[in-house]
C-alpha cells in the first residue's frame, strides 16, 4: 500500500493494520526518515513539494517492483508533504516477510530508490534563508546499486 499525505503517521498502528491480516509474517523491516535539525540547530523548517498523481504512480510502481524482487507478504510506503519541522517524521517504509532477509533488503531498496526517483523536492528554511536541497551523489550511488 502507498500513502501520500500531509498528516503524521503512527508506525505502531500502521504495522498493526497490516500484520493483523496475516499471521505468517516473521519479520518487518522499517525505515523512518525524519527532519534533522542540524548540528547547530540551524534548520527551522522543511517544506516538501511533490508532483501529485505522479508521486502516487511512481510509489505504486516501486512498491510493486519490491514485491517482484523479494518474497514479501506486504509492503507499505507513507510519504508526507507540506511544511515539517525538526523532529517530524517524513517517510515510512515497511516491508513484511516470512524471513528477515527479504524484509531488510527490500526496505533498504525502497528508501534508496525514494531518495532520487520519487518526485519530491525539499525546501529548507534556516537562518541563511530558503534553499532547495540538492541531489546528493551518495544517494545516486545508493540507488544505482540495486
Amino acid at each position: 500500500m502507498i500513502k501520500v499525505q500531509k498528516d503524521d503517521f503512527n508506525v505502531n498502528q500502521e504495522i498493526k493494520d497490516i500484520s493483523s491480516l496475516n499471521k505468517n509474517i516473521g519479520g518487518i523491516g522499517l525505515f523512518i526518515g525524519k527532519v534533522r535539525e542540524g548540528n547547530n540547530s540551524e534548520l527551522k523548517s522543511m517544506t516538501l513539494e511533490h508532483y501529485p498523481i505522479m508521486t502516487e504512480k511512481k510509489l505504486e510502481n516501486i512498491n510493486n517492483e519490491a514485491k517482484v524482487r523479494w518474497n514479501l507478504v506486504d509492503s507499505l510506503i507513507i510519504h508526507r508533504y507540506g511544511k515539517l519541522y525538526p523532529g517530524d517524521q517524513i517517510v515510512l517504509v515497511a516491508t513484511f516477510s516470512e524471513h528477515r532477509a527479504d524484509a531488510l533488503e527490500s526496505c533498504e531498496f525502497l528508501i534508496d530508490w525514494l531518495k532520487t526517483k520519487a518526485p519530491f523536492w525539499k525546501l529548507e528554511e534556516s537562518n541563511k534563508g530558503k534553499i532547495w536541497v540538492e541531489e546528493k551523489k551518495s544517494d545516486l550511488e545508493a540507488a544505482n546499486k540495486w
Binding site: Y51, L114, K117, A118, P119, W121, E134, E135
Partner: protein, 83 residues
C-alpha cells in the same frame, strides 16, 4: 500542451503551470525548452544549466531529446530529493 514547473524551476519562472498553444513546430522536449527560453529572461535563466533540469512527459521521466505531442503533460524540475 500543459506544462508544470516544480521546485526552483517554478520559483524562477514564477508560475506553477501553464497551457501553451504553440504555432511553431515543437517535436521534442529540447525544442520546447528552446521555445521557452526565447519567451523571456526568467525562462532563459531557469533553463540556463540543462544538467540540473529533469523532465517528465505524462509523468514519466524522459531524456531531453524525447518526442512530445500537443496533448502531453510536460513537467520541468530539478533532480528529485524524496525520502
Amino acid at each position: 500542451m500543459h506544462i508544470k514547473y516544480f521546485s526552483w524551476v517554478k520559483d524562477q519562472i514564477g508560475i506553477e503551470s501553464e497551457n501553451l498553444i504553440i504555432n511553431k513546430k515543437i517535436d521534442s522536449v529540447i525544442d520546447l525548452i528552446t521555445y521557452l527560453k526565447n519567451k523571456n529572461e526568467k525562462y532563459n535563466k531557469a533553463f540556463e544549466d540543462l544538467s540540473v533540469i529533469r523532465c517528465a512527459v505524462n509523468m514519466e521521466v524522459v531524456n531531453l531529446d524525447n518526442k512530445i505531442n500537443d496533448n502531453d503533460e510536460i513537467a520541468f524540475f530539478p533532480p528529485m530529493t524524496g525520502g
